[in-house]
Symmetry: C2
Subunit: 253 residues, 2 copies
C-alpha cells in the first residue's frame, strides 16, 4: 500500500508538484517528447470541443499524436489530469480588487469572473472535484477573493466561509443554466422553450390538491417568461451579499 502522507503532510502527486515548479527533470534518460502542460492543453482542447465525456486518455493521446500509455509517464492517473485541467480551465485569477472598490464591489467582480469562466467552459462543472484546491491558479482565485474582504471586520475564518458561500452559489447557478442549455441541445428544442416545456410537463404530472404551492408557481407563469439568466444570477448574488453585509455590520457595530 502506497503512503498517502508523510511527516510534512499529504504527499502531492508528482504532476502537481510540477505545476508548482518544484521537481526538476532528472538529467539522465531520453529527453521527454511530451510535457505536462502540453497534455493538459490537449485535454482542455478536447473538452472545449466535445465536452468532458470525450476526454479519454486515448483521445487526448491521439490529439498529441502519441500512444495512450505515453501519457502515464507524465500524469499519474486520469484524475490527476482532470485536476490539472480544472486549474488551466479556470484560467488566471481575476487579480486583486482595484483600490477604489469596496468589499461588495470587489466580490461582485470576483463572482462575475468565476461566472464567466464557468459559462465559457461548462465542462468545468462536470469534473468531480475531489478535495480542497491545491493547484496554483485555484489558490490564486482564493487569494484574490480573500483580498476583497481585507478591510472588513470579519474574522479570517468568516472570510473563508463567505467566499465558500459565493463560489458555491456561482457554481450552482452555472450548473443549473448549463443543464438547461445541454438539455435543450439533447432534446433539439430552443433553449428559450426549455423552461416552458418543463412547466407544461410538471403541470401535467402534479395533482393541484397535493401540490398547491407548486401549482401557484406554475399558474404565475414563472417558468414561461424567459428572463435574462444574468438577472437570475444577479438576484441570488445580491441576496448572498446582503447576508454577508448584515454580518459585517454586526461585527462592525
Amino acid at each position: 500500500m502506497a503512503a498517502k502522507t508523510d511527516d510534512s503532510g499529504p504527499v502531492l502527486p508528482a504532476s502537481i508538484q510540477n505545476a508548482w515548479g518544484l521537481r526538476d527533470r532528472p538529467p539522465k534518460g531520453p529527453r521527454p517528447g511530451l510535457s505536462v502542460p502540453a497534455i493538459v492543453d490537449a485535454a482542455v482542447r478536447v473538452a472545449d470541443a466535445d465536452g468532458l465525456a470525450a476526454v479519454s486518455m486515448s483521445r487526448v493521446a491521439k490529439e498529441l499524436g502519441a500512444a495512450t500509455m505515453a501519457l502515464y509517464r507524465y500524469v499519474g492517473s486520469k484524475d490527476e489530469l482532470l485536476m490539472l485541467m480544472v486549474d488551466m480551465g479556470y484560467g488566471p485569477s481575476p487579480g486583486p480588487p482595484p483600490p477604489e472598490d469596496d468589499w461588495r464591489a470587489g466580490l461582485t467582480r470576483w463572482a462575475w469572473a468565476e461566472h464567466r469562466a464557468l459559462r465559457h467552459r461548462s465542462w468545468l462543472l462536470h469534473v468531480p472535484i475531489s478535495g480542497p484546491p491545491i493547484t496554483p491558479q485555484q489558490l490564486g482565485w482564493m487569494e484574490d477573493g480573500l483580498r476583497c474582504l481585507d478591510g472588513t471586520a470579519l474574522a479570517e475564518g468568516e472570510k473563508m466561509s463567505a467566499l465558500l458561500l459565493i463560489t458555491g452559489y456561482v457554481r450552482n447557478e452555472a450548473t443549473l443554466t448549463s443543464q438547461i442549455a445541454e438539455g435543450s441541445r439533447a432534446a433539439g428544442v430552443e433553449p428559450s422553450e426549455m423552461m416552458p416545456a418543463y412547466g407544461r410537463l410538471v403541470a401535467r404530472l402534479i395533482d393541484p390538491a397535493r401540490f398547491p404551492a407548486l401549482q401557484r408557481v406554475l399558474d404565475a407563469g414563472v417558468l414561461n417568461q424567459d428572463d435574462d439568466p444574468d438577472d437570475e444570477f444577479t438576484f441570488g448574488l445580491d441576496r448572498i451579499l446582503d447576508g454577508i453585509d448584515a454580518l459585517i455590520r454586526r461585527r462592525t457595530a
Copy 2:
C-alpha cells in the same frame, strides 16, 4: 432519431411515468419477475454499502439474482436508474411546515432535512444531475419548501429563486464536508487531522509575498481548529436567510 418531445412537451421515460403511477401493465406476456422499485431499492442498497461507483448494472442485477440485461426491461438506461435512485435516496419530503413556524423557521427546518438526507447518503452528491426535478418525491420537496414562503410578500418567482439558493447551498456544504470525509478515508488519516494537514500543505506551497491574504488565514489557524461542521452549516444558512430576510422586508415595506 428518437423523438424527445411531443405535442404536450418532453416525453417522460417510461420508468418515470411508472413512478407517477401512470402506465398500467399490459395484460399480455409473462408476468414480470422484477419491478422498478425492487431494482431501485437494490441499487440504493449497493450505493449505501459501497458507494455510487459500485453501482453498475451487473452489480445491481447480481444483488437481485437476475441477469444484467434483465434490468433493461424496466429502466431505459443507467441514467434513468440514477434518477430514480435519487428520488428514493432523498426519501419523502419533510412535510409542510407546522403552522406556528414563520418562514424562517420553516426554511431552516427544510434545509436541515435536506442536510440530513445528504449526510446520510453522501452518494447522492455524486449523481450527476441532469435537469430540473421531475420525480414525485423531488417535487414533493419543492412543494414543501414553497409552502414555507406562503405568507410572505415575495413574488412566486422570487420564492423559487430563494429555494434554489438554499438547496444549492445545502448541496454545496454537504459536498465539501463529504469530500473531507472521503479524503481522510482514502488517505488513512483521522478526519479531524484532514484540514490541518491541508493547511500545512498549502503553507508549504505558497509564497507569502504572492499570497498574503491566504497566508493570514493560515496564520490565524483557521484550518487547525476543527469546529463542529454543523456550526459551519448554520453560519452559511443564516447568511442566506438574512439575505432573503432583507428582500422580504423590502417587499413588505
